[in-house]
């Protein structure tokens, strides 16, 4: 079996989730009742038998450190390989590298020393359940230098405007990479490349004053490099705004979406909390909702997601909402189209109603 090492490159991900990314990077935003965005990328790597993962982090990565620990939840707390969070290094003052190339350059030892022949580089904003070993075998069959991963979307949601799109020829070769808003081949911010070529391209990019590896090393070199397009066909969401976060969270309530994201043979792992099972009291009334452990529900909840340890008081009503860890909704409060970040408290009888297309968002630890 050929070995792959992983890089999760957060360097150029912008933190566009408003209140949810005031104090944390996008990769650390809670999602799906008990996960963080980055859990999907790491779990996909762990399930694809990737044993070394580097996380290139630049900003607001402290809650990421808390969450990832040493990779424990992914069985990545290892002596050989393992998970490394790599903030920018204070290294050679004569270093001329810029942008994410600075990360690649500072951490070239990770690439060179990895017990792997291939490197899979991924962002954290594309939620999916993908087997990178399959990507590798297609990559090898295609004879390509680089394989980029994309998915064909059915509908052109606004979040795709921020993604690159691919033109792919009949042989699966990428002919151009651009931002055409009407192209449905959405690049998923993941590529596979051999270790040696990555190392070589990094050097070339730096020598040419580049600042963005994907743009300078791959996108602008489609003519001299054979870039293959791997099509991913499973459940997919691109989350780079509150709106896409909210819409895609609701989609998890659909059985198909849910089952193709949370597979028994390729589970999504996350940091373990020791919460008791969710408790439903006689007055509870819950429908079409994802509920995490540690919740205690006395009120009514519909079309919503409750994260771990949420308390819903008697007579409270929650609809179309996302309630994060340890929030307390007191009796007779009403929440509709609302996102509450962790540790919020909504006092008795209070009503908060956002719009279906623009939910009302409360930041961490607010009491109202």
């Amino acid at each position: 079996m050929d070995r792959i090492a992983g890089i999760i490159n957060l360097d150029h991900e912008q933190d566009l989730l408003d209140e949810l990314t005031y104090f944390r990077c996008g990769a650390a935003v809670p999602f799906g009742g008990r996960y963080r965005m980055i859990d999907f990328a790491i779990s996909n790597m762990a399930n694809s038998r990737i044993e070394s993962v580097a996380v290139f982090a630049r900003r607001k990565y402290r809650s990421l450190m808390d969450h990832l620990e040493q990779g424990k939840a992914w069985d990545l707390d290892r002596k050989r390989g393992g998970l490394f969070i790599l903030p920018p290094d204070w290294n050679d003052p004569t270093d001329i590298s810029r942008g994410d190339l600075q990360h690649f350059h500072n951490n070239i030892d990770f690439v060179n020393r990895a017990l792997a022949d291939y490197i899979l580089v991924s962002g954290s904003q594309n939620i999916c359940n993908i087997d990178f070993q399959e990507v590798l075998s297609e990559h090898k069959n295609s004879g390509a230098d680089v394989s980029v991963i994309y998915t064909k979307v059915d509908e052109l949601y606004p979040e795709f405007n921020l993604a690159h799109k691919l033109d792919v020829d009949g042989n699966g070769r990428v002919t151009s990479i651009h931002n055409d808003h009407n192209n449905k081949n959405v690049y998923m911010d993941m590529y596979l490349i051999s270790k040696d070529l990555l190392s070589e391209l990094i050097e070339q990019c730096i020598a040419h004053g580049g600042s963005h590896f994907f743009l300078d090393g791959i996108k602008s070199r489609l003519e001299d490099l054979h870039v293959h397009a791997y099509e991913y066909k499973g459940a997919h969401a691109l989350i780079n705004s509150v709106e896409s976060y909210y819409r895609n969270s609701s989609k998890l309530l659909e059985a198909d979406e849910h089952d193709s994201l949370f597979k028994e043979d390729a589970p999504i792992f996350t940091k373990v909390k020791n919460e008791a099972p969710a408790k439903y009291l006689p007055t509870s009334n819950v429908s079409n909702t994802l509920v995490a452990n540690g919740c205690v529900i006395e009120g009514e909840v519909e079309d919503s997601i409750l994260f771990r340890g949420v308390k819903v008081g008697e007579g409270a009503v929650i609809r179309n909402s996302i309630i994060m860890q340890r929030c307390e909704i007191e009796p007779n409060a009403v929440l509709e189209n609302v996102i509450l970040d962790k540790d919020c408290r909504i006092s008795e009888g209070r009503t908060l109603i956002g719009a279906p297309e623009k939910p009302f968002v409360l930041p961490k630890r607010k009491s109202m």
Binding site: R34, L253, I268, A276, K279, S284, L290, N293, V296, I305
Partner: protein
């Protein structure tokens, strides 16, 4: 490294035959409880929460699942470099070996394990009870009283006292007599099977006991009576709180039902005394629009489309449309089809209940129905008290 003040030895060898098919393949301490846990999670979590970081688990009968479940102890924060949890099956020695002959023999045969930690005190636990207890508070009491042995006791109703091992004490809490299931109890203080011994004292008694051919090598029958006979100082430590032996199908069912009260005596949501367990890594539970859920404990990985009333549902359970689960305990990964009715039952792990099946007897005085592990119940069968 420094020695350990107190090392715990957890007797997890029991077969628990009164739990019928629930313990056919697993030892009693591995039996499921409370929607998420196994019985042994309680003493192990109590150890961690009490700051006792060295635990020997004495296994004998079918240890594989327990072994696999405990693993490296990481779930209970007991994956320590010096100490942590060690599973101790009987092993072969140059002088020959054999199975543990009794609770005291199990400890005696692991003298070498205990000696490497050179503890001052040894805490003896059993893996049969559901309770939250601060062993450190008991240890403080033991040290302050200067006892050779401290036995934790709980007040039981007088009318039930004759079912227990009863401790008779003087006004200072010193144990004067030990009555095993007395017909006419003189006290209602029942032994919980939790002992703390001074290690130097216990060691000598274990060695003497091993040389005594007439001994059954049991703590309750041999060691405690010997200490009492020698006028050693034995103190009773009174525990207050929830404590339940889940040794029968009915008591296991009852203990699960106890959790469904609005303010259960056993609070599983107490952040300062968490009950740790191995995590199955399942997505959040999904409660469908067709579902009705009232008075329930439900774990991750469940998909509920039917009705759940007054029941405890473990992880990975699916309940399909128009099915009703009432007054029952559904163990992990059970799949329940459509139009199923389940009343007053315990459904063992991995069972498949086919569409239209009817299980259990709703009448409140009936016995609890048990569906055996990985059983399959067809619509035509009417399983009750199996």
């Amino acid at each position: 490294m420094k020695n350990k003040e107190c090392v715990a030895m957890l007797l997890a060898g029991g077969q628990g035959t009164r739990l019928k098919s629930l313990t056919k393949k697993i030892a009693k301490p591995a039996v499921y409880f409370g929607g998420k846990y196994r019985i042994i999670d309680f003493p192990l979590s109590n150890c961690t929460n009490s700051g006792i970081d060295t635990v020997g688990v004495l296994t004998q009968y079918e240890p594989l699942i327990l072994n696999d479940y405990i693993g490296i102890g990481a779930s209970w924060d007991l994956d320590r470099k010096f100490g942590g949890v060690s599973v101790l099956p009987p092993f072969m020695q140059a002088e020959g070996g054999g199975w543990y002959t009794g609770t005291a023999n199990a400890i005696y045969r692991n003298l070498q394990f205990l000696n490497q930690y050179d503890p001052e005190h040894v805490l003896i636990l059993s893996g049969d009870h559901i309770y939250k207890m601060d062993y450190n508070a008991m240890l403080d009491y033991h040290k302050e009283s200067g006892a050779d042995c401290t036995i934790s006791v709980i007040e039981v109703p007088w009318e039930e006292a004759s079912r227990f091992g009863i401790m008779n004490t003087d006004d200072n809490g010193r144990i004067t007599e030990f009555d095993e299931k007395p017909k006419e109890p003189k006290s209602n203080l029942a032994s919980m099977g939790v002992y703390i011994f001074r290690w130097d004292v216990l060691k000598q008694y274990l060695i003497d006991d091993a040389e005594n051919e007439n001994s059954s090598n049991d703590f309750g029958k041999d060691i405690i009576p010997s200490l009492l006979g020698d006028y050693r100082k034995l103190m009773a430590y009174t525990f207050e709180g929830y404590w339940k032996d889940v040794g029968t199908v009915n008591s296991l069912w009852e203990a699960n039902m106890d959790l469904l009260k609005k303010e259960p005596e056993l609070n599983l949501n107490d952040q300062s005394w968490r009950i740790y367990s191995k995590n199955p890594n399942q997505p959040p539970q999904y409660i469908a629009p067709s579902a009705k859920v009232k008075n329930a404990l439900i774990n991750e990985g469940c998909r509920i489309k039917g009705e759940i009333d007054n029941s405890v549902i473990f992880y990975g359970v699916h309940v399909d449309e128009n099915s009703v689960v009432k007054d029952s305990v559904i163990m992990p990964d059970v799949k329940i089809g459509k139009n199923v009715t389940i009343n007053r039952a315990i459904i063992s792990k991995g069972s498949v209940i086919e569409d239209g099946a009817v299980i259990g007897d709703a009448s409140p005085e009936s016995e609890i129905t048990l569906v055996a592990e990985e059983g399959s119940v067809l619509a035509s069968s009417y399983a009750t008290n199996s």
